[in-house]
Amino acid sequence: MGYKTYTSFGLPTFLIIIIALYLLFTGSGEVFDVGRFLEETSPFVWGSLGIGLCIGLSVFGAGWGIFLTGASILGISTKNLISIIFCEVVAIYGVIMGIVYSSKLQPVPEALLYTKDNYFTGYALFFGGLTVGLCNLLCGLCVGIAGSTAALADAADSTLFVKVLVVEVFGSVLGLFGLIIGLLMIGNAKEFLPGSPAVSAVS
């Protein structure tokens, strides 16, 4: 067992167990309340996190893909930059979804914020953003590695480029799937509107 295993697995587990047992033994075990957490967290938090994850993970994937392909292209010095464009498209998907999602964020005073519809919108934005972000991250990786191999194959034998390009096209469709599902998830969500609170006795 090395230092890495101890610190990355041992220390957090230890802290969690200590805190949980402390709460349990001092009679405040009910402080750990998932339901209250979900009710009390502002839908703005969920919405903004979703949008942040959407654009952040998409750009992460696109950037990773571009450097994977770009490093090989620099060594080969080919003029075929189409793989880079496929990676960039992934980031554009993230931007589009970010813009679509951010139109749902409207200012609402706190007393009127916690309606059922607003909860729904908040969760839809968060998980929609997570879906789109993860899809684009993995799509960017896929297109990046395939693009790196395409650059090298193209330099060795020009007839191979079209064949590897077909592989890349299928890879980039993954990002499109994420975009479609993200749009569907937000389809029924209204923007944040003021209304009477859904749950009473919320501070």
């Binding site: 450097f67 490093a71 090989s72 060594g75 990786l141 590695i145 090298l152 330099a155 060795a156």
Partner: protein, 357 residues
């Protein structure tokens, strides 16, 4: 997973080395080279390939040794470009490639000094990829202990020489034993180092190094027939890696003639064809021991080229760098062979080179 991070440090160099590899001469190049009448034609044909004008400044008449030296210099230039642009762990991998040449240079210098050759002449004959700073100091060799303490202990070859410090004096037999002991230690060390780098490199390099070890084992066995080398001494020179380890190595240590070597190699599928004497194209039926050895050497080279070509089929691994160096060396041997045949007007054996692509 190897594709995710390999390109960070090594993507550019992998692209460069694959570009170098696509410049290796193909069958069509060899076809036009073998039709040359003089070495001047040969030089013109080569200038249309990736070699370019590497012989531009040489005075005519050209000699084949100049061609070989200049061609090796292009390989060295490529290798130095790769080495200077690399970071760990690729730079250590490339260093490991040079250790083999360093061992050859050290042994060359020791042998030359014992036969009292001129130091400068010896230094010029060293392989450029294996040059290290304190090399000229090797020319004052008297015994291995002193060599080790004064020169070798600071070079990367130090751990390989530790096992053979007990060699009493340096004569021709002992130097060969030293060379093979050191090379054995180097191969095993390289094999172990490769195991730490990553699974794709391991797949490619283990095959290549295992074959190299088996090739050396078979060569040592065959060359030690009818010499003073005892069987125990012979067994200590076999590397502990490869398909013939451990059972084949034990059997080869006890072998007395080529037929027993053939039997041992029959156990390994890939090596069965090395001793196949019924191949068509052999004009005389019974080759005798010397003929079998020459044919064996040729087959070893073909197998080596085949394994090195396979390395380029996989991306995101370091084996391509090693394979490029070896394939380029084979190409240099080929063009030297063709140049010699042209110069000596022995055109019937000109096609005995090993084509690569």
């Amino acid at each position: 997973m190897e594709g995710l991070f390999f390109n960070v440090n090594n993507g550019f160099l992998e692209g460069i080395v694959r570009g170098y590899k696509s410049g290796i001469l193909t069958q069509s190049h060899y076809a036009s080279l073998t039709q040359c009448e003089t070495l001047e034609d040969f030089k013109t044909q080569l200038s249309a390939t990736d070699y370019g004008n590497f012989l531009a400044n040489e005075p005519s008449p050209l000699s084949t040794s100049t061609i070989a030296d200049k061609a090796t210099q292009t390989l060295v230039d490529h290798f130095n470009f790769l080495r200077s642009n690399s970071v760990e762990p690729l730079s250590k991998f490339l260093d490991y490639i040079t250790y083999g040449y360093m061992i050859d240079n050290v042994v060359l210098l020791i042998t030359g000094t014992l036969h009292e050759r001129d130091t400068h002449e010896l230094l010029e004959r060293c392989h450029p990829l294996g040059i290290f700073d304190t090399m000229p100091a090797l020319c004052v060799a008297t015994n291995v202990e002193e060599l080790y303490q004064s020169v070798l202990v600071e070079t990367p070859l130090a751990p390989y020489f530790r096992d053979c410090l007990s060699a009493a004096d340096l004569d021709d037999m002992n130097i060969e034993i030293i060379r093979n002991t050191v090379y054995k230690a180097y191969l095993e060390d390289f094999y172990n180092y490769v195991s730490t780098i990553g699974s794709t490199t391991v797949d490619v390099m283990h095959n290549i190094l295992a074959f190299e070890a088996d090739r050396r084992t078979i060569n040592i066995t065959i060359n030690s027939f009818d010499t003073e080398l005892t069987k125990e001494q012979r067994a200590k020179l076999f590397p502990a890696i490869g398909r013939l380890f451990p059972a084949g190595n034990n059997a080869l240590a006890k072998a007395d003639d080529i037929d027993q070597v053939r039997q041992v190699c029959d156990n390994v599928g890939e090596y069965r064809s090395f001793f196949d004497n019924s191949a068509s194209g052999q004009s005389n039926g019974d080759l005798g021991d010397f003929g079998v050895a020459a044919q064996l050497e040729d087959r070893f080279f073909r197998m080596e080229v085949h394994l090195n070509k396979l390395a380029f089929l996989q991306q995101f691994q370091y084996g391509v760098f090693y394979s490029y160096v070896k394939l380029k060396e084979q190409e240099i041997r080929n063009i030297t062979w063709i140049a010699e045949c042209i110069a000596q007007d022995a055109r019937d054996r000109m096609h005995d080179f090993i084509p690569i692509f």
